[in-house]
Amino acid sequence: MTYLAKPRLHHPSLSPNDLGFTRRDYEGSVSTLCAGCGHDSISAAIIQACYDLNLPPHRLAKLSGIGCSSKTPDYFLGASHGFNTVHGRMPSVLTGANLANRELIYLGVSGDGDSASIGLGQFAHAIRRGVNMTYIVENNGVYGLTKGQFSATSDKGSKSKRGVENHESAIDLVSLALQLGATFVARSFSGDKAQLAPLIRAALAHKGAAFIDCVSPCVQFNNHSGSTKSYDYVREHNEAVNRLDVIAKRAPIEVDYAPGTTTTVTQHDGSVLALHKLAAHYDPTDRIAAMTYLAQRQALGEVVTGLLYVDPEASDLHDSLETVSTPLTALGGKDLIPGSSVLAKINADLR
């Protein structure tokens, strides 16, 4: 960490987006995580994505649980309301917040301990309810804040910094999310912002439960040889299925890849996802195929990254509940209280 505030001075040519904000305007407090933490790179990618998306910072609510990853919402979008909830319970709080005001954009940030161990249940249920959110797990395979215990996503056979081997099977959150009905599923790597930032951008624009598993090396406790979440390991085994360009609605689609190598998917908000195929025949709109592909590649020790699945026709929890388009928070007494005459009728029925 650093205790000095990051100087407000910025590059003279730093350009504002359509809203007049520079990328720096999307920053938060200075990170207190260890130097070199992958989580900080993810924060930077979130900042980039929100800037690219022309997102008014105050229209996003950022929520997290407990742990290193869950501290990060303090480090981006300083003009957004944030909520550091309790361990493993961010999904429920986010669900409630979303029910209260469907007009804000919800970003949940969690870690592998927070989502795959203590919060596995809440993770699963928020996904299967189709809460409209972007759910990022900053996955480092280790408990950082308590100094290096294995987490539930630590691969079987991987070794801790002290050389202890992990004998328990790993939980793969991507496979789980696919099985549970997430309508946007991606995996990325904190060390590859060029891949990660567009994925976050597309996820924020997605209507429905969007899940990104982001491998994020813990420099302090899980970046040694024998780890499967280290910078070196992930770089050596990274199998990206595609490269994503997000094209804002109304913007002309210009993709400079050779014909036949690009798929486009139009999302609910009109934004177009242009996917440059890196793995031949990979179809990101086929959920079953995605699950099979993942299983095959994982068996080979590869870390499959990219936009793995998207349902462009996704719906969310508000659709299922058929709630009014006005945020529930905006409804006043007139909308909500039936009044004394109705009560008189109710009384009459109870005699």
Partner: protein, 613 residues
Amino acid sequence: MSGSLNLTNDFVVKFANVNGSGSASANSMFAKSVLRMGVPVAARNIFPSNIQGLPTWYEVRVTGDGHLGRRGGVDLMVAMNPQTWDRDIAEIESGGYLFYDSTKVLPESKFRDDITVVGVPLTRICNEVYSVPRERQLFKNIIYVGALAALLGIEIEVIETLLAEQFAGKERLIKANVDALHMGRDYVRTNLTPLGLQVRRADAVGDRIYVEGNSAAALGAVYGGATVCAWYPITPSTSVVEAFTDYCAEFRIDAETGQAKYAIVQAEDEIASIGIVIGAGWNGARAFTATSGPGISLMTEFIGLSYFAEIPAVIMDVQRGGPSTGMPTRTQQADLISAAYAGHGDTKHPMLLPQDPGECFEMGALAFDLSDRLQTTVFVMLDLDIGMNEWLTEPFKWDDTRSLDRGKVMTYEDLESGVDFGRYKDVDGDGIPYRTYPGVHPSKGAYFTRGTSRNPYARYSEEGHVYVDNMQRLLRKFETAKSLIPAPELRKSKTATRTGVIYFGSTTPAMHEALEILASKGLHLDALRVRGFPFSDEVYDFIAAHDRVFVVEQNRDAQLRTLIVNEGDVDPAKLPPVLHFDGTPITARFIAAEIGTRLGATAPRSPVPEAAE
């Protein structure tokens, strides 16, 4: 038989049934028919944690004097369950009556000689008329209602009206039920004579309504402006949310679009339920959950967060018998301490203590104003007795000029005017800070909510004095809460006395009746009903003004008494506890006996024994 009880508008009928036999609605109709004759009733379900097969009882106290508490003892047993026959027979008061299905001949040893036995061959009648087994089962219940009407002097037209209301629009069903009703009546008319227990038309009900507390609390939530409800099914609170769902479907649908002005989510557990409530409360919606003791245990971490991060939430705790799974379908007032102090570290939370469904409605609505005003979790402490039984209660009232009190919330305009916003700053000296809703302003008013210590501007701080200042402010806020919680209700004895009694919640009707019993024996007590926590000064003034103050409650460890002792400067010796915790609702007889005995010389020599369950 000589010595038979002759009682008019003042007796207890108990139905012993098998769970799942469809008796509940017939029994309820019986109680309601008495009400419709202008005679108050107090009816209680005593049911197992079971869907089918285990014994269940329904106890109806016909009480022309309006004593709505459980009296204790049974004057007429409607014994429909062979499984519990022996204990049911044993429970009948001497001189009382037994009503049973005489289709099967029973040996004399199965009866008592100090009671009147009334046999109606219900099964035989059914088998003669109905061929479908399910119909036989269901109509048997209606037939005994018809028979009882004839035996007890209940006007058959009243029941016919009730049937017509219940099956409105389903003429075939109405006719079938009325036919069954008549079969029972006619059998009695032909073969038997009316009992010494009689219902006589009166005018003692007034405009009171007959409703379950859970349903009333749910309606209170509707009127309190709740828009988000998250819950996990648990007895005895489930019907709160079921009722809320029904009321919302009726009153909260946008007329133009048909869309819902509410969101109800059945969560994966109680933890997620309260998490959703807190998320919605944080974001500016009025949200609640309904649960019972085990749920409170699970929610405790989140309740602590709500206390420390100051987020409004409403929890309707319909208390049941604890600890652990305890007695899921029996009543207790045993969550007071776990609710009042839920959470690790120093925490305390306001509670509202309704005495009946009328107050469940009032407090169900008030809780939302209070939680917004105090920015914390507010408990509405129902119990199974109030929640799941229909009570005769004052009609619901609503003042149309009343608006939702959203508490201290800074708007866009406030922020724009340049006021200094500190989320945890005590601006007004009442310990309550101002908050902002997420998304309110592009550049002002955003803050980071956390369960960790922070300074008045919501910035993380572990400095000792910053933490202490914040904890002291939370205490100031709790002081402020005292003035917002409904004041206690004092019933002064007509005769001056140095003895008092404190009670709350569902104990109320039994307590009032007990006071009458005691007064008739020359024992006079001033009585104070507490209606919420934290306790206002009136509670401690009351204690100070008396030499001895009984604290009557329905738990083993005298939890209300513990709270009183813990929160104020009171000598515990001054507060003798009166405790009832067998899972059945407390009775007037029990209270009168306990207090009478403790008051020594003037006590009745042998208190009326409590009937064994």
